[in-house]
Subunit: 194 residues, 2 copies
Amino acid sequence: MNDKKLKIINAAKKSFSHFGYKATTMDQIAKIAQVGKGTIYTYFSSKEEMLKAIIDLFVVEMRDVAESAIPRRQPFIKSFNEVLHTITKFQSEHELMIKLSQEVKEIGTPEVIAAMKSVEDEICEFIEVKIETAIERGELRKCDPKITSFLMFKMYVNLVNDWKERHEPLDKDQIAELINTYFIEGIGMKNEDY
Amino acid sequence: MNDKKLKIINAAKKSFSHFGYKATTMDQIAKIAQVGKGTIYTYFSSKEEMLKAIIDLFVVEMRDVAESAIPRRQPFIKSFNEVLHTITKFQSEHELMIKLSQEVKEIGTPEVIAAMKSVEDEICEFIEVKIETAIERGELRKCDPKITSFLMFKMYVNLVNDWKERHEPLDKDQIAELINTYFIEGIGMKNEDY
DNA sequence: TAATGACCAATTTCGTATTTTAGTCGAAAA
DNA sequence: TTTTCGACTAAAATACGAAATTGGTCATTA
């Protein structure tokens, strides 16, 4: 990625983080990046493409962080919660994500909704691969990796975000325990229970 | 409930079902109910209170239907999916609920959001009681009934509504099987697996 | 040839006139 | 008296045209 393009990306990231997507103008980005507005369009075909490019970079970073949160030589399933916690924390430490989440709630900008959804998809896909591996290694029973990752991710989000709408928020360890209880062990009676 | 009050309730229900909450005016309700507008206010203190009253009646009906969907002398957990399916079907057969769900998505009327949330809460509470019973009867392992019902309901909604946003929709039986796989049995390796 | 910013069409914002609506209240009816 | 009513009102929603803003283009420039 050449120098000018990087300058533009950084300017856009800064402005999106500070003012949100909708409230950022192309003129503003050009000014921050110290380039003419036309120059932006030699690198990005539209404002939305810029957002996508920035989100893509973010996702790459996020993958790295998530990957490095998986302890070597430990069943993935044990570290699942740790990984999602890391991802959540990573997101919450980035002004960009905070601002964009806000924008989805408060304005509902379609481009931003799509962008945030793509981040969720990436997380799901990340988990999916890990689950496939876990099944191959015999750490998990056979199950559809796509549905499983979808449900695990949703359950995590439900516990972290939705539960606290009407109840005391749950902390990291409680969530880890809950996911293990419901998802891994199951709450049906087992033979050994009798 | 006296005759006039019932007439008003029915008129309101009809209008809400047809035009939605926001697009229904008190004059309209009065006209349909064939009463003066002032009369409405002798029975209901506000438009929102009318909505709540109607929702309350709906919830009572829904509870009955749900209750009767539970086969006698069978573990609740076996019929959980059947019950939720019945509730979902019951809702989807009522113009009122369809219209209000739409209004939440398209307009986001705060009163309607609150009303629909209260319906969800009722469903969760219904499940909660059933889960408590199931635990007492030894059909389920010990677990927090509030969190369990919350998660089961969410998982059901995730599978019915969210999954189909990006994948082929799942049918009733698939969902039943999935909830059983993940929630009841768990996907962790069991002793007997070895 | 890469970069630029004046320019344009389209959308958004803004101010305001107009209409609509939830809720009130004095009077009529029961 | 008690219940019902609908004209009335203040507040909110809407309609709408003018003005400003903005994403994107392109002829000019360095």
